[in-house]
Amino acid sequence: MPQYALVIDLNTCAGCHACATNCKEWNTQASFGPLSDFDPYGRNPKGVWYNRIMTYEMGEFPDTQVFHLPKSCLHCQDAPCVPVCPTGASYKREQDGIVLVNYNDCIGCKLCSWACPYGCRKFDEADKVMKKCTLCIDRIYDEFLPPEHRKPACVLTCPAKARFFGDIEDPNSEAYKMIKERNGFVLFPDMGTNPANHYLPRTETKVHVDEHLLEAENPLFLEVVRRHYKGG
């Protein structure tokens, strides 16, 4: 059975939030929109975002590293949000494995958000229904778009090319190859949800740096070079 999913390269993601912004823009104007915003420029902005980027700092100062984890619905193959829905509004499509919400059937009980261990469901206070990433289903099947544009908005916009999209069950797809070649992993594999979205792990880059480069005057540059210095 086909299973469309995102594959996100944590090694390349720069945490620029372009994916989240373009996701918001596309889904606000397209078939599943609008996405509500309350007090967007005020002290306590609230709203619906399908895609969030969480930024973490690891290590002890001064040897710290920052990494970014973009997270949207993982389109789990054993999605726990689907069976708990009392109306059947949450469902998983057989033809592509995408988990969707039928807004006409959703009663807004929020039980699916309790059941999702990844916190990927957002209640829209304006429409009073639960919303989530659709993998831009209104783009990927749109025959009026050129074939190279039939991808989720977040994938198309990523300036670092850190996001890939495809059928993770198809050995010929780019997503499948990325996962196999670069040891793709999923979030919380022990929870039994079998997420479709995969992440490519961060790898530490060691480069050879000539000794004279370590004498640079810029202390920030020196810090970066020292961190990656492997020896002369």
């Binding site: 069976p83 829905c85 059937d105």
Partner: protein
């Protein structure tokens, strides 16, 4: 500070809990008469108990709708009975209210024979199923470890019995004083069990 939806959930548990707990003890006493026990309740006591239960389950249903985004679509919650505990709760609690109404009408018209006990037993089973389904909404969530235990189910059922025995105690004071001692004991037993669960399992 609790938000509005949490306060409504408390209201639902309180109203539904008293309703089904009160019916539990009311019918239990009537049921014992089938075995020759002198536990028959006066007609007024049964009717007052049933009216309280019906009003409270109705208030519980209204209170439950307050945490829904679309209240008028609440009926759709019956559609996924085969997978969703919330759907099962909606079906069982709705059926409980309906059979309870028939039970009360039978008592009102003094039909205390086969059908009276038939609907009493059906209503009794439905309340257990309703309470079990409510508890399973929480107990089946395997990602909240504090809830994901069979203790959650026992705790809920005990809570309903605690509410019910307390309410029934108040009625026995007015109509069957000889049972006051028994129900004081039962009320404190269920209360003590609830506290014990709370302390032992931190739920």
């Amino acid at each position: 500070m609790k938000d509005a939806s949490t306060a409504f959930l408390d209201l639902v548990f309180l109203t539904a809990g008293i309703s089904i707990g009160l019916f539990n003890f009311t019918y239990f006493m009537e049921f014992l008469t089938l075995f020759g026990k002198d536990t028959a309740l006066p007609k007024h006591m049964v009717l007052i108990s049933n009216v309280i239960s019906l009003v409270l389950i109705g208030l519980g249903a209204i209170g439950a709708s307050f945490h829904l985004g679309h209240k008028l679509r609440a009926w759709k919650a019956i559609k996924r009975f085969h997978t969703s505990w919330l759907s099962r709760e909606a079906v069982f609690s709705g059926a409980y209210g309906f059979t309870l109404l028939i039970f009360a009408l039978l008592r009102f018209f003094d039909h205390t024979g086969f059908w009276y006990h038939f609907f009493g037993i059906i209503t009794f089973i439905l309340w257990w199923l309703s309470a079990f389904s409510t508890a399973m909404i929480y107990a089946s969530n395997r990602f909240v470890l504090e809830w994901n235990t069979s203790i959650s189910v026992l705790y809920y059922l005990n809570m309903y019995l605690m509410f019910g025995s307390s309410a029934f105690l108040a009625l026995t004071y007015f109509y069957r004083k000889e049972f006051v001692g028994t129900y004081i004991f039962l009320t404190f037993l269920f209360l003590a069990l609830g506290l014990a669960f709370r302390l032992a399992f931190n739920i």
